[in-house]
Amino acid sequence: MSKQELLLKIRDLKIEGRSDETWNQIVNGVDIDLHKGEVLGLIGESGAGKSTIGLAAMGFTRDGCRISDGSVEFDGIDLVNADAATKRSLLGKRIAYVAQSAAASFNPAHRLMEQHIEGPVQHNVFSASESEKDGIELYRKLRLPDPENIGFRYPHQVSGGQLQRAMTAMAMACRPDLIIFDEPTTALDVTTQIEVLASIRDIVEQFNTAAIYITHDLAVVAQMADKIKVLLKGDEVEEADTRTMLSHPKEDYTKSLWAVRSFQREQKPLADKGETPVVSIKNVDAAYGGGTVKVLHDVSFDIHAGRTVAVVGESGSGKSTTARCITGLLPPLTGTVEFDGVTLPADYRQRDKDQLRQAQMIYQMADTALNPRKTIGEIIGRPVEFYLGLTGTAKRKRVEELLDILELEPNQYIDRLPSELSGGQKQRIGIGRALAAEPKFIICDEVTSALDQLVAEGILRTLAKLQDEFNLAYMFITHDLATVRSIADEVVVMKEGRVVEAGPKDVMFKPPHHAYTDLLLSSVPEMDPDWLDNLLEERGVDNIGDAASSKI
């Protein structure tokens, strides 16, 4: 494949970003060679400069950034110094871009097909009717359901995974030579992700398109890329073809990335039969919209002291709704939630202060979970003051203790605002706020899914440590089975508001499975470059993702 001609040549690319009145270098000299039909995977943590490089490959920088040095050559055209007209004639036609969030990238006021044909018509590649026919063909190739008519829907009328594929089709509309995929599957469920991955790979191969695939998920990039480049803080760490990179990483940083998935806590034995569970959910039915839309059907499970129960399932399966029933935000229609054997009032407003204190919650998005106008000291200090009645120096001392437990230097962080912290640090503050109430039970709602793998592992280790120290019970909501593997004691699988399967982790991860559990498990990408091929061979192209899930 590498014998084909060179398409994109980036040499010593340096990009600066403006913040605080000075230009700071964010990419320090990166070289890229991309041949026709080749797929390059760019991986690294957030802030590594992956997306910035991806955009620079189109000769584009975000507002407040500039290319300060180096060259970007696309098929012999110097994109750094090209004028606007030249770039306009290339972008969309020969270079296309697929963004992370398709939902945010489509114009909600126009049908998919109207947006699809815009590019080809603008660039005089196809006429409107030709492009429409071609679009239907692309939709078929990407295995979208009902390809003849799906183009006449509005973006909100199709699912996230379908929208992401429609966007890939749109990028393909002009048959570009190069497509830049910027984390196209990060926001999707595992079961949906696999469909998108399979169809992207298929179509890129069919049209001999070169691609840059940006992601932080190693297992995903292993399926997609011919070669991988690892980035760290704007520097290139190493580059090699996929198989070499996976089997023989040279640099320590790369090895550490590979090692992340190894964290595994020892599974605790099941609690004694007679022991009263900390939280017991009994036959809960719940509905939104005053009982019209029923989302939970007869959900029951127990959570014991010192144990972690992982609740898994795709989005819309009722995981978070169950959490809302436990916290009392959504009073169940029928059924009860018991705490230490005592039935809790259904509505949180009727619970007393101590009942509220005992059950705390950690949220997925630390950005929305922490009040951006309050300092760390205020955020963690509030529950300390509210529940324990400590004020003044006693409160401050307690907050410092908590920060210490969370491995954050108290003096350095106590007066900062959340915006001055990194994603992982923010999540630690979220944990700190829950811990400050001295609860027995914590609900962790997708706490690691917005974080990079290295950071996520740190959070998991902290949670595990806290559990051992304070004998906490966790309800761990996640769709990431790798996380489940590393931290759970028991697993509850949910689908469409029902508990499909439940049991200790070791049993759950061993066959035989319930069909849905099996689908979930088999959809988690592995670090083996042949994984997707093998899976497709095993299950068949029409038996993965949504299609398979709806058959169950």
């Binding site: 009145e21 507002d63 004028d83 606007a84 007209a85 916290t327 009392g328 935000l329 949180y348 619970r351 202060k353 509220l356 919650m361 949220y363 998005m365 929305t368 979970a369 922490l370 009040n371 951006p372 106008r373 309050k374 509030r382 529950p383 509210f386 529940y387 706020r433 109430a437």
Partner: protein, 394 residues
């Protein structure tokens, strides 16, 4: 026909001029790379816009130097003067002060520093009116209708730089005291409007349900009636209640305008509040068992501060204009208190002298200009704050 030819000729000339500018800009190698790229990527219509701008500046220069009229010259001089003042003010701000304030001034556009300067000047004038003004606002002199300029030869009096009004009160002193009365009352009214509006708005956002429905429908009803007409109507009733008590009329006016303007504040704070109450930190606070007042004042208010502050600036201008309009119509701030709206009305007859004595004709415009200047200044600051908080470009 002739006019039409002229118009066509000018448009053609502008289009040709635009093309010429762009071609020249591309041909000449400018010293900065940015400028070269600017001309290279310039769309044709933008270059025509540039030509129109140059043409307009040409017209300005022509009227300023070759065919001057006093009002136009004053306007241009005033503009230049204010621009220089704003520039110096910003320069001082960049050199003097703490590190934080210096940084603020460095990032500040000239318009914003102008606005801040105007607000500071107005505030000082309003607070120290008693010291700055040469005479009291109610003092009546024997010499009525003294012309402005202070030159006895043209009917002026050096003791009254801006002359006296038909009753014999010093106009300069009344303009200065007008700042205190008009701006002060407008400020109190706006604060009151915000107190009512934000409290109700946030309450509606958190509670929802019937509280939201009730308050929103009341607000809809109030907003359905044109504001100035409604204020006039209510003021007529209030004046009847208050009788001849001028102070009471002013209090009623403050209450009426505050309630009417709070409807707009309510709308904004409800909308902003709705976006904030869905945040997880509000849910966390609710689950902690926090009280309603903690939620409103400690969790929501700090996050709604920026848009509310921007709205405060705008609302202040509208309140200010409403008071001036009511005063102009004779039912706002009552004499003998000096007020700019009333002054425009009282002095409006002078505008007839424009041909003979431009300065005299400018008197009502000075009171009106004082209103306009503050409105412009506040809007500049508000624009800047909106840009800063929302990251809005342009």
């Amino acid at each position: 026909m002739n006019t039409l030819l002229w118009i066509i000729g000018i448009v053609a000339a502008l289009m040709a001029g635009g093309w010429l500018i762009r071609t020249l800009g591309r041909a000449i190698d400018l010293p900065s790379r940015q400028a070269n790229i600017y001309f290279r990527d310039m769309p044709y219509l933008a270059s025509v816009g540039l030509a129109v701008g140059i043409f307009a500046i040409g017209i300005l220069i022509y009227y300023y130097f070759l065919s001057p009229t006093p009002f136009f010259v004053w306007a241009v001089n005033g503009f230049i003067f204010f621009a220089i003042c704003a520039f110096i003010f910003r320069f001082i701000g960049r050199v003097v002060g703490t590190e934080g304030s210096k940084k603020l001034f460095r990032q500040m556009p000239l318009t914003a520093s102008f606005g801040i300067l105007i607000i500071i000047v107005y505030a000082i004038t309003a607070i120290f009116a008693g010291i700055i003004a040469p005479y009291g606002q109610e003092e009546v002199f024997a010499k009525a209708n003294v012309l402005p300029g202070g030159d006895p030869a043209t009917g002026g009096d050096p003791e009254h730089i801006l002359g006296t009004d038909p009753i014999g009160r010093d106009i300069l002193s009344r303009i200065i005291f007008g700042a205190q009365n008009t701006v002060g009352i407008a400020f109190i009214t706006t604060c009151l409007a915000f107190l009512i509006g934000t409290t109700m708005g946030f309450l509606a956002a958190i509670k929802g349900g019937w509280i939201d429905q009730l308050t929103s429908r009341v607000v809809d009803a109030l907003m359905a009636i044109p504001q100035l007409i409604f204020a006039l109507l209510l003021m007529t009733i209030a004046t009847a209640w208050a009788g001849s008590n001028g102070f009471l009329v002013t209090v009623y006016m403050i209450l009426i305008i505050a309630v009417l303007d709070s409807t707009r504040v309510y709308r904004l704070s409800r909308a902003v509040g709705l976006n904030i109450v869905v945040m997880d930190y509000i849910e966390a606070a609710k689950l902690r068992g926090e009280t309603l007042s903690y939620l409103v004042f400690k969790e929501i208010l700090p996050n709604a501060f920026a848009p509310l502050l921007a709205e405060f600036g705008l609302r202040f201008c509208f309140v200010f204009l409403t008071i001036a309009s009511l005063s102009f119509l004779g039912i706002g701030i009552q004499p003998p208190l000096a007020d700019w709206g009333t002054m425009v009305k009282d002095l409006s007859a002078f505008i007839n002298f424009a041909q003979f004595s431009p300065l005299t004709a400018a008197l009502p415009l000075m009171a009106a200009g004082a209103i306009a200047l503050l409105t412009v200044g506040v809007n500049f600051v508000v624009d800047w704050m909106l840009q800063k908080t929302s990251g809005l470009k342009e």
